[in-house]
Amino acid sequence: MTPAIGKRVHMEPQTIHREDIVRWINDFAQVVAVNRDHLTELDAAIGDGDHGVNMDRGFRAVAAKLPSVGDKDIAQILKTTGMTLVSTVGGASGPLYGAFFLQEALSSAGKEELSLTDWIAMLEAALNGIIARGKAAIGDKTMLDALAPALQALKDAAIRNATLAEALTQSADAAQDGMQATIPLVARKGRASYLGERSAGHIDPGAASMYLLLKTAASTLASG
């Protein structure tokens, strides 16, 4: 069932280009639009019911903005994405997803294409950016709880010499597990923390959107 290695190299891209990044972000904008009400429902249960609306507003603006930087390099595209999110989303997720993309931009500065190693460094920077801004820890029931295991999965995949596609898929799976694992958690950061014990029993909305972002990365970037 496993295709021959030689073949695999030709079938699957091992690097990510500018166009891939644009496609990833545009695809995610559509995923967010489709999941807008779902994310909002998750947030209504333990927050204030605006996460889907916030993300949709932000990524609509991003999608509208991207054509104007389509010819710029990866870092510029990511920076524009981050800046646009910061100035259109608001709430907790605006600065945090803003930090995600702005840190990815810094980490990818000057790069024409991205290897799996670059991608890992970028997600690492993104994770640290979110922590620096939001001061949450793993297990606080936030978007970090999807992002951190996804990053770990990428690192594990790299050690195992997995292909980019495999690594991205494994990171998406890990993000999904991480999202599911937020269900029993009692929130300690963000609005959900005010509910105390009552926050347990629900998926964290930010973890859900983070999973969707990484899943979109897998499906968009892995297919070349």
Partner: protein, 333 residues
């Protein structure tokens, strides 16, 4: 969902257009990015006082822009904190050379967005001080949460701080007055019903016809506990007890008693709550020297109330009584 709106996406903008038209003599509304500034901003030599937060709490914050209170307010989407560019532009618009104070309600989103705005404003040479209001005693274990929420005290902080700025005090002094209010005030709220955000289209939480939420925030978040509806006096007791025991108020202390409506509660019911709250204050030897009763920081059309107690001294009293001219609060001028 039944609302007096056109499209859910246009609520904030259209509402501000009406607000701008109705109060053209007091305020000026900027639409890109969105902020409301007092008509004569920037006032030379005066500290600019700005605040902001999600929409849906009207008259807070935009209704408090004007002489003696806020120099500018930045409304976000409904229940969503505004973005840094709004606070940056608002800070620039009101900076009269004496610096700008940011009054922030303690919510993760508000904090982060204001923080970014402050970084940007400082990098453009504007001196910024920040005070975070976190008066909600319903949040008990602040170590394991995002900390106490900013609720009713915000209204009092904006009024008193605005009056201090009007006296041409320095940024440091204005900030310290605001910090004193932050330290001296406590609040707690409850809801009889949920509210419906236009973009969601249904109630944020379901509350059976014989139950209420105690310890709610102001964004349609459910509270800390749900229980059968009680008579107003018992509810008032449940709100006052944690407030009074949290701040070590002492017999003889002078206080301002603020009973706030969440948007869908008749004024007559707020006075029934006020009646009991004043009784309890008196039982504790507290002297209610000022009062405020009405829907001043709301959650759309939620039915419910919050109570805020603010310890007063001579300075705060004088600043509270100082003239104010805003769409939402006005006296003395």
């Amino acid at each position: 969902m039944k609302k007096l709106i056109n499209r859910a996406d246009d609520v904030v903008r259209e509402s501000l257009e009406g607000f701008a038209a109705a109060h053209a003599g007091m305020v000026r509304v900027n639409f890109d990015p969105i902020y409301v500034a007092r008509i004569d901003a920037p006032v030379r030599g005066k500290v600019g006082v700005i605040s902001g937060g999600g929409s849906g709490h009207e008259p807070l914050h935009c209704g408090y822009v004007g002489m003696g209170m806020l120099d500018a307010a930045c409304p976000g989407a409904i229940f969503t904190s505004p973005t840094p560019d709004q606070m940056l532009e608002a800070s620039k618009a009101v900076d009269g050379g004496a610096g700008v104070l940011h009054i922030i309600k303690n919510y993760t989103g508000d904090l982060m967005n204001f923080e970014m705005a402050a970084e940007l404003a400082r990098s453009e040479g504007i001196e910024i001080d920040t005070v975070i209001i976190d008066d909600d005693v319903a949040v008990t274990n602040s170590l394991y949460t995002a900390g106490r929420r900013g609720v009713g005290l915000t209204v009092l902080a904006e009024k008193i701080t605005g009056a201090a700025a009007e006296e041409r005090r320095s940024l440091k002094e204005v900030g310290d007055i605001c910090r004193q209010v932050k330290d001296w005030g406590r609040s707690m709220g409850m809801a009889l019903t949920s509210c419906t955000a236009p973009h969601i289209g249904h109630a944020m939480f379901e509350l059976p016809d014989d139950e209420m939420e105690i310890g709610i925030g102001i964004h349609g978040e459910p509270g800390r506990k749900r229980m059968p509806v009680q008579p107003a006096d018992e509810i008032t007791d449940m709100l006052m007890e944690p407030i009074i025991s949290d701040l070590p108020y002492r017999r003889g202390d002078e206080v301002l008693l603020f009973v706030n409506g969440m948007g869908g509660t008749p004024l007559s019911e707020l006075y029934i709550v006020y009646r009991r709250a004043a009784e309890i204050a008196a039982q504790h030897g507290l002297k209610v020297v000022r009062s405020l009763v009405g829907p001043y920081i709301t959650s759309l059309e939620m039915a419910g109330c919050s109570i805020t107690l603010l310890k007063m001294d001579e300075t705060l009293l004088k600043l509270w009584d100082a003239p104010i001219k805003t769409p939402g609060l006005r006296w003395g001028i």
